[in-house]
Symmetry: C2
Subunit: 353 residues, 2 copies
């Protein structure tokens, strides 16, 4: 009998277990890729986050990103920032027993490089808990204001490196507002882009409604049909269309032609969103900057959209910010003001009471 006993004991040895991946809530547009039985998620849009629940006192995360800063939260507390970490596995230990929520959030903006999230892992299957669940969902579509471009800066003069170091999407009004309502969110925003015209006429054709069709900015991957259905869609566009004079060679020869194209294109974009998500409440945001040109065009857009049947739509025209962040962008103080303005409106919706 001895050999049998020995074998039984060997199998009873608690070997070092292979880490078990956690089911993960994905906040934002990502491209799933599978290799060797493991799924990773390639991301490029700002503010993308990954969140999972587990029990026990440790969790690992694997990431491959040499361009972005990523915030790691445990139970809602920002514990670590991964600073352009490259291909890295980080573990948090000694978290104490019981249930925990782990969350990784992209805080920086990169317009020409992707990162890859390779998963959260726990030591054994009994540590796995079901996905976080969200009853409320908000989609944000916009430009640098929604990204939080340079918002951590305490001055307007910024180099490219300064902007990279001071952009914190986790502190943009979009993220602040969503978290206040404990809502799931997506931030489909791209600094410098407009409805028909980008900042100073750059990258003609690749406006936000065009980029919006893609998960990756090189247009190699469209947006997957993943069932995402927002309750509210907040759009902040128009600043880049109107903030600079028209250059020779651009598509429009007069401001009026630009304005007409803007309104028509914006209405069509809004209609496409409304057709996809007919129950969603739509909010258009615009500042009074640039002698009200943006605000007037957005107000005209809202009227036209309502006339065309998109009635569950309102505008927020804002002013009174200090614009003290990079290149005159909203400061952290301004982000709080914008979030308050927006939250007051969203709080009126039954689901967000």
């Amino acid at each position: 009998m001895r050999p049998v006993l020995l074998l039984a004991l060997l199998f009873a040895v608690p070997a070092v277990a292979a880490p078990v991946p956690l089911e993960t809530y994905i906040g934002g547009r990502v491209l799933a890729s599978s290799a060797a039985g493991e799924t990773a998620y390639i991301y490029e849009w700002p503010g993308v986050y990954f969140e999972a629940r587990f029990s026990g006192d440790s969790v690992d995360l694997k990431v491959d990103d040499d361009q972005n800063n990523l915030y790691l939260y445990v139970d809602g507390v920002h514990k670590l920032t991964l600073t352009k970490p490259g291909h890295t596995t980080v573990a948090l230990k000694d978290l104490g027993p019981g249930e925990h929520v782990v969350r990784l959030e992209k805080s920086s903006e990169t317009q020409a490089s992707t990162g890859k999230f390779e998963g959260f892992f726990v030591p054994s299957p009994d540590r796995v808990l079901p996905l976080p669940h969200y009853d409320r969902r908000i989609e944000f579509i916009g430009d640098s204001y929604t990204v939080g471009y340079g918002n951590q800066s305490r001055g307007q003069t910024c180099t490219v490196d300064d902007v990279a170091a001071t952009t914190d999407t986790s502190q943009s009004f979009a993220t602040l507002t969503a978290k206040q309502f404990n809502a799931a969110y997506r931030i489909d925003a791209f600094s410098g882009r407009g409805v028909v015209r980008n900042y100073d006429g750059i990258a003609p054709g690749d406006t936000l409604p065009v980029m919006y069709k893609y998960t990756l900015f090189d247009k190699s991957a469209g947006v997957a049909e993943d069932g995402w259905t927002p309750d509210v869609v907040v759009i902040g566009l128009g600043t880049n269309d109107f903030s600079t004079p028209l250059n020779i060679g651009e598509k429009w020869t007069t401001r009026e032609a630009l304005r007409v194209d803007f309104v028509n294109t914006y209405v069509a974009f809004i209609q496409s969103l409304h057709a996809k998500w007919p129950a969603a409440h739509i909010i258009l945001m615009a500042s009074t900057k640039y002698e009200n040109e943006v605000a007037d065009a957005v107000t005209a857009t809202a009227e036209a959209a309502r006339t065309d049947g998109v009635t569950d739509l309102e505008t927020i025209i804002f002013s009174g910010l200090d614009w003290q962040a990079c290149q005159g962008h909203p400061s952290l103080k301004d982000e709080a003001i914008l979030s308050q303005l927006l939250s007051d409106r969203i709080a009126r919706l039954p689901k967000f009471h």
Copy 2:
């Protein structure tokens, strides 16, 4: 025989090994405290760092700090920032085989709260490698300029929170210079403090030469005799003595009385350092700001110190900075300029060729 066999097999099970602490190089003043056979290090001065070498692909670190930001470097690359992490164990895994250097560095300034480093750990004793070794040693003594007060800010207007968020001692000219020479360093600097008078006369008596005697700012712990012997001592003091008008009730009734006290006290402080480290080269730094009052007093101090026998001493009087960081402090651009000025001088010393 069965029970004996069973017992033998149970002991042969490769149990999860207890983590092995790494011998750690301590850069800066700390207070060692032992509990349950483990040594922890309480720190409060800026720029304190902990560094260790190991082989293999993982390392743990334990820290208890709810006020500071701490940078974690692996092989010289900044991988993580611990953001006021509290009592936390962080592990880096999948680092690849071979030798690695891990380093934790305090980047923020706190003047009234300590943090505790509880050690680096590896899974087994064969992963332990000897301490990092430094041939060159620099001590920095100073005020907010040496701390790197608000240096990440892109504007001069900063709240208290802004200053906390934008102070990065890892980017002060002191740290930049030491790292350029691969030198060990200590940063004994305290924002707002002067030689005889602090900024605007605050905290009278608790000047930098007084605080310098302590490891912790509540004066509960003096400086341990640990054999630290710098090759170079760089002192940047005087700005806080002279940058504000004298207030009624202060010790000095005229600027001249302040100046005389400054020179006498500064010379005595320099002499005490020279007596302790007779081979150390001493560099006094001062800006031309405030109508040269600081620079003139520091120049007079240098002359008096030389007359008194401290001959291995020079001054760096600097101007031409942009002062665009919080409350007119040196910006990151300025830190680079100051580091270059200082490095040019230090490079002339035989040991730093």
